[in-house]
């Protein structure tokens, strides 16, 4: 059976015909790197705790990329494929239903990885970005974060009737977190109250563990548990709310 590779490749081509998704995953994070790297540079002397501005920011941009694909791209595609009857046509074939979820998960992960690569190589060449201290832990943490967020993407895509509603809900969940989680703006700048209020947002947890692995700090057990609970809870809800039609 060549169904899964063919499906994944076809969906990849379709994804690249949708310029917005590709822009916000590949181009926009790189623009952030250029702009803020240009403003603040990456000199540890101007930074914090012996880390340069970009050493602190780029792990957050990784969280931003995952947030974009899981909370913006996946919900829209899932809701659109369901409401337009694209799933209905696929269901009438011998294709295993899991293949569809698998293909969308895979291609968004690969797209994210491409975004990471652009950020890392760009950061290294332009701003002498630090190499992750715990690369193996970083990879594991990234996979956990992706799964935890992707299942919620499928939940949002399944729980709302139209792709328009799913898109709005995804935006409402994503954008406040984008600014409050430390993915884009350092939480070190926040006042004490705002910092504690935003500590337990999902994207804060994601940004934290990525930074910890990158900077060689201990990865907070609480965050790992948080992400695991998100994964389990999200999977249970996803199984409940997922509909082909």
């Amino acid at each position: 059976m060549t169904a899964f590779p063919t499906l994944s490749w076809t969906e990849t081509k379709l994804l690249f015909r949708e310029p917005a998704a590709v822009f916000f995953t590949l181009v926009f994070p790189f623009m952030m790197l250029l702009i803020f790297g240009g403003i603040y540079g990456n000199d540890p002397a101007n930074g914090w705790n012996g880390l340069g501005g970009m050493d602190i920011s780029v792990p957050g941009y990784f969280a931003m990329i995952f947030g974009t694909v899981t909370l913006l791209s996946i919900p829209i595609v899932i809701a659109e494929y369901r409401s337009n009857g694209i799933f209905r046509r696929l269901r009438a074939t011998p294709l295993h239903p899991g293949s569809i979820i698998g293909a969308h998960s895979l291609i968004n992960l690969v797209l994210s990885a491409l975004g990471f690569l652009i950020l890392f190589v760009g950061g290294k060449l332009l701003f002498n970005l630090m190499t992750p201290e715990k690369p193996f832990a970083l990879v594991l943490v990234l996979i956990l974060c992706y799964v935890a967020f992707a299942v919620f993407g499928f939940v949002i895509g399944s729980a709302f009737r139209t792709s328009r509603t799913a898109q709005v809900v995804g935006n409402v969940i994503y954008f406040p977190q984008l600014f409050l989680s430390g993915a884009t703006m350092p939480r070190e700048m926040f006042s004490g109250n705002l910092r504690s209020w935003t500590e337990w947002m999902p994207m804060t947890q994601m940004a934290n563990v990525i930074k910890q692995a990158w900077h060689g700090q201990d990865i907070a057990n609480g965050s790992i548990v948080y992400l695991l609970v998100m994964t389990i809870l999200g999977s249970m809800i996803a199984v409940k709310v997922f509909r082909w039609e």
Partner: protein, 304 residues
């Protein structure tokens, strides 16, 4: 074992909340025939199709499609069944070529899609995005997808809805061609002329029930013992001379006589006796539309 029917439904019901979408339906579809399911919107046609294709499980009764249980043997059924659904779609940006390649990859022994595309006249549209295809081209692409797995049974749900009259007539030829290839066709439509033209047998569905089932001829014959003769009368014609044979209706010089099975002979003899030979003397065949109105009290045809 060679199974007897392509589709066999016994006392199947399916409700959605309080709505009985399919209410105790039984019907058999023979191998190699074009079988029509006709009825107005909301009659239960699509639910019936969903039961036959394993998209829904019946609440009661039994459904066998190609001798398989559509729910329990869903994967095996998907291998041998072709479908063109009314509310099914493809991604807007996918090209015809990509769609054919993708759907071919789902089957173990697909027909070469290039040959299919040529046969159905979309070979020159392979690199066109789905949303840039015309309605007729989309339909032909969907038929190609439905035929990729060399199906034994093809379900065509509202194949010609939204097509212009020319494209509709072309689709009819295509449906006949599918059957000539030995495939059984289940045609779901709300167009009576389509059913009458194409189908070997028809089931009329209304209110979730089978209202009538048979060949188009059987259905129109069975619907009424009354027959109808019309002709254009010459000036001064004595209408009362026909009164002993049936009910005479005059509209200008247009005469309609309704009566029993000998009404045509009686009218012809009477006219012969008066030396009148109207060139347009004819019996009126009752159409499936008339039958439908008889059975349900509703007009089926929507304004196209």
């Amino acid at each position: 074992m060679k199974h007897e029917f392509a589709i066999s439904i016994r006392n199947a019901s399916k409700s959605f909340g309080r709505l009985k979408a399919v209410d105790d339906i039984s019907l058999d579809v023979h191998h190699g025939e074009i079988f029509g399911i006709i009825g107005p919107n909301g009659a239960g046609k699509t639910t019936t199709v969903n039961l036959i294709t394993g998209m829904l499980a019946p609440d009661n009764g039994e459904v066998r499609t190609l001798d398989l249980d559509p729910i329990r043997d869903e994967r095996r059924l998907r291998d041998v069944l072709g479908v063109q659904f009314q509310e099914a779609n493809l991604p807007a940006a996918i090209t015809a070529r990509e769609a054919l390649k993708l759907y071919a990859s789902f089957y173990r022994n697909p027909r070469p899609w290039t040959g299919l595309a040529e046969e159905w006249g979309i070979a020159d549209k392979l690199d066109t995005r789905f949303d840039k295809l015309s309605g007729g081209q989309k339909q032909r692409l969907f038929i190609c997808l439905a035929l990729l797995n060399r199906p034994k049974l093809v379900v065509l749900d509202e194949l010609t809805t939204g097509l212009d009259p020319n494209a509709r007539r072309m689709s009819w030829e295509l449906v006949k061609r599918i059957r000539e290839g030995g495939t059984t066709v289940l045609l779901v439509t709300h167009f009576m002329d389509e059913a009458q033209q194409l189908c070997d047998r028809i089931a009329m569905i209304t209110g979730g029930k089978v209202a009538a089932i048979g060949t188009p001829e059987e259905l129109t014959r069975a619907s009424s013992a009354e027959r109808e003769v019309t002709f254009t009368a010459p000036p001064g014609f004595d209408y009362l001379s026909l009164a002993p044979y049936g009910r005479v209706h005059v509209d200008g010089n247009r005469v309609t006589v309704r009566g029993g099975e000998f009404i045509m002979a009686d009218v012809a003899m009477t006219l012969r006796g008066q030396g009148i030979a109207p060139p347009d003397l004819a019996t009126v065949n009752r159409s499936l539309d008339d039958l439908f109105v008889d059975l349900t009290g509703h007009q089926i045809q929507e304004v196209a």
